[in-house]
Amino acid sequence: GAGVSQSPRYKVAKRGQDVALRCDPISGHVSLFWYQQALGQGPEFLTYFQNEAQLDKSGLPSDRFFAERPEGSVSTLKIQRTQQEDSAVYLCASSFPGRDTQYFGPGTRLTVL
């Protein structure tokens, strides 16, 4: 595809449920980022992959958050036992290696009831 795609676009979960959010980066982009964006705020970094290696996960807010990219392309962000404070838009971005311009997907809006 021409850009970064994310699915689902919208997700409603009951508190305590597990959710999985998918990101398809631009083909050939080695670097992949996940961000969390609360209403009215800028995106906040969660984690970074280079190929399949998760090189930085310092932004993950708790051990309920887990990200993977097993084959170095598609990535999944998993949130276990969702809480209301997890409600946000989750953005995925990808970039060429060594270039800091990131290309963002449309995001997944997660609402935890």
């Binding site: 009215g40 800028g42 310092s58 953005l91 800091d100 311009t101 990131q102 963002f104 997907g105 995001g107």
Partner: protein, 109 residues
């Protein structure tokens, strides 16, 4: 990791030139300055990037003084479709970038 400061919001009439200034006093020697635009319900979109002096593309111009402690994004002749949030970032190569709250630009008819 450069900390950036921008105005929270700005209003402008259609057809005017808009200048958004960002301060980044602690920018590192190898950091580039990058601006993103974000519309509601969309991810941020790259606008322009520079290191020093002036950079211009089909969308905007970026002015960076010699001391690199600030930068100004210039949008020529804005239209209603330029209403968005604009983020200034300072980063070099891969870094855990910080977007901040950005500048919400409202273009008025």
């Amino acid at each position: 990791l450069a900390k950036t400061t921008q105005p929270i919001s700005m209003d402008s009439y259609e057809g005017q030139e808009v200048n958004i200034t960002c301060s980044h006093n602690n920018i590192a020697t190898n950091d580039y300055i990058t601006w993103y635009q974000q519309f509601p319900s969309q991810g941020p979109r790259f606008i322009i990037q520079g290191y020093k002096t002036k950079v211009t593309n089909e969308v905007a111009s970026l002015f960076i003084p010699a001391d690199r402690k600030s930068s100004t994004l210039s949008l020529p002749r804005v239209s209603l479709s330029d209403t968005a949030v604009y983020y200034c970032l300072g980063a070099g190569g891969y870094q855990k970038v910080t977007f901040g709250t950005g500048t919400k630009l409202q273009v008025i008819p």
